[in-house]
């Protein structure tokens, strides 16, 4: 076999990494290179480019190697797949990261890997890359390391001290699905590893009795990813799992990744067109859970089958089922209720609350605050505006849903 060039390796190992949805470079400690070194972190992420799949490119997202001893049906890199394989050396990853960073292509590195030899050996190579970047290159940009769930605790401890974010993928919405499609992975172990990261993060925030602060541990927190549409789980199942993960392990984000066709797919998982709209609705529901005070049951009880409506967003779907609460008077309603108005975001609600201290809000005032009145109009009253019978109109849903389409006959 001829020796692969760096370009060929990069092609293989970025192709292998693209099924991980996470790309965020937000959070972490604020730092810059004024006192030496290269790179900075502002706390809010920067997306340096966008691919035509609509996903942002913020980090150099690559695998260290796509050789893998696991056989997870949904994965392009599973041991039984015949995709071309490659492996970066430690120096190659470091050089790519630094050269890309100097040209302002990326915010940092998101390093994942197939599992080679053993989970510990793989994790230790990944940690070596992060160590070299931080200590030899004095790199101050963002580093996100994928944790290999079976790796030894001291490797995870060092990974957490070197990186901004750690992540471990739960991969599928239920334990049963995981044991069907990823027989070597153990859902209990994945959760224990997440619990371990949470405890280490909390321990790193406690000062010792002398007031000394321990080294920071993954300051941008941990995240995970769930593949949507590979198994038969409903959205209610997916969101219940997310609630559990957020409350138990303090995750920053749960990423939902629509199951997408891969080269050389497994016979166990027939390829489908990725359920992009479902993925989008799940993200919306996830936001409602985290920032709008909704409970899982409220969002998922709207439809009988436990799946979110695809044609309208989950907040609107909830409001249409609870029209008795509306219309709300924007000049009087509480923050909790205003957050439930379709078309009002958290920022709009904050603006309404500060502004109504000064004046009686009229319809045109609200349009200036960034609200989408096309949506909200049916659910609120304001000075000079009342929706009249629109709120209870039988055609209200049809105003928002896209018009029905004739299905293709061919």
């Amino acid at each position: 076999m001829t020796r692969q060039t760096l370009d060929q390796k990069l092609a293989i190992l970025s192709d292998a990494a693209k099924y991980d949805a996470s790309c965020a470079s937000s959070g972490g400690t604020k730092r810059n290179a004024r006192s030496g070194g290269l790179g900075s972190n502002t706390g809010s992420g920067i997306c340096h480019s966008y691919a035509p799949d609509g996903r942002c490119i913020s980090l150099l997202k690559i695998l260290m190697t796509n050789f893998c001893i696991y056989d997870c049906s949904y994965c392009i890199n599973r041991v039984s797949s015949n995709v071309p394989r490659a492996r970066f050396s430690v120096e190659e990853v470091v050089k790519l990261t630094i050269e890309f960073y100097r040209r302002n292509y990326i915010e940092g590195l998101f390093l994942s890997s197939g599992v080679i030899r053993s989970p510990d050996a793989t994790m230790s190579d990944m940690v070596q890359i992060a160590r070299k970047l931080r200590h030899e290159e004095n790199f101050k940009g963002y580093i996100h390391l994928k944790t290999i769930p079976d790796a030894a605790p001291d490797l995870i401890a060092e990974a957490g001290r070197l990186s901004d974010r750690l992540s471990i993928n739960v991969e599928l919405p239920t334990d049963a699905a995981l044991s069907t499609y990823a027989p070597e992975k153990n859902p209990g172990q994945i959760r224990r590893a997440m619990a371990d990261v949470r405890q280490r993060r909390e321990a790193s925030k406690e000062r010792s009795h002398t007031g000394k602060r321990p080294p920071k541990f993954a300051p941008a927190g941990q995240s995970t990813q769930v593949i949507i549409g590979a198994d038969a789980s409903t959205d209610a199942t997916v969101l219940t799992q997310s609630t559990r993960l957020y409350s138990s392990y303090g995750l920053r984000r749960v990423y939902y990744s629509a199951f997408s066709p891969i080269p050389d797919a497994s016979a166990k998982l027939p390829l489908i067109s990725p359920p992009l709209q479902r993925e989008h609705r799940l993200y919306q529901a996830d936001w409602l859970l985290r920032f709008y005070g909704f409970d899982v049951d409220e969002i998922t009880s709207v439809t009988p089958d436990g799946n979110l409506a695809l044609d309208i967003d989950p907040k609107l779907a909830w409001a249409l089922q609870h029209r008795g609460l509306f219309p709300l008077d924007v000049n009087r309603a509480s923050r909790e209720l205003l957050l439930r108005v379709p078309g009002f975001g958290v920022k709009t609600v904050n603006r309404i609350l500060t502004t109504r201290r000064h004046r009686h809000l009229r319809y045109e005032d609200i349009t200036r605050m960034g609200a989408s009145m096309k949506k909200a109009g049916a659910f609120v009253t304001a000075g000079g505006w009342t929706p009249g019978s629109l709120t209870d109109s039988a055609h209200l849903r049809a105003r928002f849903a896209p018009p029905p389409e004739q299905m293709s006959l061919f």
Binding site: S14, D53, E99, R117, G188, T243, T355, D365, M369
Partner: protein
């Protein structure tokens, strides 16, 4: 009519000085004509180009206005300075105006501020450097050509300085050029697009861009809303976009149509290697602990991280039974490590009870809770769950053969004596347990933590301490195993 010309570089300071002077002289917005350098406003026939002196009197302006003004001055709208001064004029009598999001003047300025912030952010994202010096030079040098929508280079120099401090760089825009050399930034007037040398890393970047794209999920609008076409001409990777879009459907179809292949030969060997590996996280060992960890007798296992087994010597004269693991125990995988466990340790030490010599466990092995946002709210296990888990508790008792069991709280009392009622009345008494052991009933330490009244807390803690001291006295004297009247 006064005419003020604000320079392109240093616009924020120049506008601020002029505005302070005008305001202290009481010049109304209608009497000022603002000109922006480089935007060639027609000079007023009767203008006086005198820059008013900054008044000595201190001017108080809301802090949020300063931030707004320092941003909006970099907008390209020729009216920006006049709009800012008009708002400043109104703020004299109405300082609360800044929090009125519905005011049309302020709304317009906020909109302009948002546009400048977006432009600033896009510049941070889309500037692409090319190396102009030798790659092995002690200090490397890079240059970029960029066409921002607004005059945002000046507000971004701090960002690029903080990020690329160990190399020389210059960013050239049509209006302003920023040059960073020897650790200092200097701003000069703009230049035409320079001819930058080819850069080998750009090829690698294109390779990355082409391969990180997933052809099965084409969402062109999502891309262009965040990376508008106006930026494409200066982005090296944008050249690849049309080809990627055109080929995507065919590539997705080819993946779907391809027949599954047989696993490669090395697959079997790799899997055999995996089978030999034992993870440190795996549930090793056998016996009671392994069985408890695998328990699925009731639905509580669905939401907990793990089952928490008891801890202590396998044979113990004294056994302590709590309610159920809490949040900390669930994460740590050990009993009695949370706040209640720590309180127990403290009081036990005071009472002379040696925790290490006792076997500590819980009546229920999984953490029962409801998720609420980022927290888990503890819930008391119901009688059914206690009944299911009694299987494990009795197995632990049978193994430890304790002389005395301390039941802390009503759940433990329910599991051990069949009744969890009237704990306050029953505490401190030794009763016969369901398996024939002596059971000392006492309070649960988390009850002490929840008591709001300090005096009541002190009393309850004293009771609890007395009970533990009693347990420490009684345990060694009792014979191991169920007492005389075995059922």
């Amino acid at each position: 009519m006064q005419c003020i010309t604000v320079p392109l570089i240093g616009a924020a300071g120049a506008w601020r000085d002029a505005a302070r002077g005008l305001l202290s002289e009481g010049v109304a917005p209608g009497d000022v004509l603002w000109n922006a350098e480089g935007q060639g406003g027609a000079a007023d026939l009767f203008e006086s180009d005198r820059v008013p002196a900054v008044g000595a009197a201190a001017l108080t302006v809301p802090r949020s206005f300063i931030a707004l003004a320092n941003t909006v001055v970099f907008h390209t709208d020729p009216q920006r300075f006049a709009r800012l001064y008009a708002l400043l004029w109104r703020l004299r009598d109405a300082p609360y105006l800044m929090s009125d999001r519905a005011d049309p003047d302020l709304a317009k300025l906020r909109q302009m501020e948002k546009a400048v912030h977006r432009c600033r952010h896009k510049m941070r994202a889309f500037v692409r450097f090319r190396e102009i010096g030798a790659p092995d030079a002690p200090r490397r040098s890079f240059a970029a050509w960029f066409e921002p929508t607004h005059y945002t280079l000046e507000m971004n120099t701090g960002f690029f300085e903080g990020r690329f401090a160990d190399m020389d760089w210059r960013i050239v825009t049509p209006d302003v050029t920023a040059i960073y050399e020897q650790g200092r930034v200097r701003l000069e007037s703009g230049q035409a697009a320079p001819q930058l040398p080819e850069d080998a890393s750009e090829e690698l970047w294109l390779t990355y861009f082409r391969n990180i794209f997933n052809p099965a999920r084409l969402k062109v609008n999502a891309m262009t809303s965040e990376m508008p076409r106006k930026y494409w001409k200066n982005l090296p990777e944008a050249a690849a976009i049309p080809g990627l879009i055109a080929n995507a459907p065919a590539r997705a179809r080819a993946m779907a149509a391809a027949a599954p292949t047989l696993p490669p030969l090395r697959a079997a060997a790799a899997q055999a290697g995996l089978a030999r590996h034992v993870s440190v996280w795996a549930d090793t060992g056998a016996g009671l602990e392994a069985d408890i960890r695998a328990c699925t007798r009731c639905p509580l296992h669905c939401n907990a991280t793990q089952a928490i087994c008891g801890e202590g010597p396998k044979r113990a004269a004294l056994m302590i039974v709590g309610e159920q693991p809490g949040d900390r125990e669930d994460l740590a995988g050990r009993p009695f490590v949370g706040p209640a466990g720590q309180l127990f340790d403290k009081v036990a030490a005071e009472a002379g009870l040696d925790r290490e010599a006792a076997y500590v466990t819980n009546a229920v092995k999984h953490f029962k809770h409801i998720p609420r946002g980022r927290k888990r709210i503890h819930q008391r296990p119901d009688a059914g769950e206690v009944e299911q888990c009694k299987w494990w508790l009795e197995a632990e008792i049978a193994r430890a053969k304790p002389g005395l069991i301390v039941a802390m709280g009503s759940t433990a009392a329910l599991a051990l004596t069949g009744s969890g009622a009237r704990i306050m009345m029953r505490r401190g008494s030794v009763v016969r347990g369901r398996m024939g052991h002596d059971v000392l009933i006492t309070l649960h330490p988390s009850y002490l933590l929840r008591l709001p009244d300090a005096a009541a807390k002190l009393r309850a803690t004293a009771d609890f301490r007395a009970d533990l001291a009693l347990a420490a006295r009684l345990a060694p004297s009792r014979s191991a195993g169920p007492s005389a009247t075995r059922r």
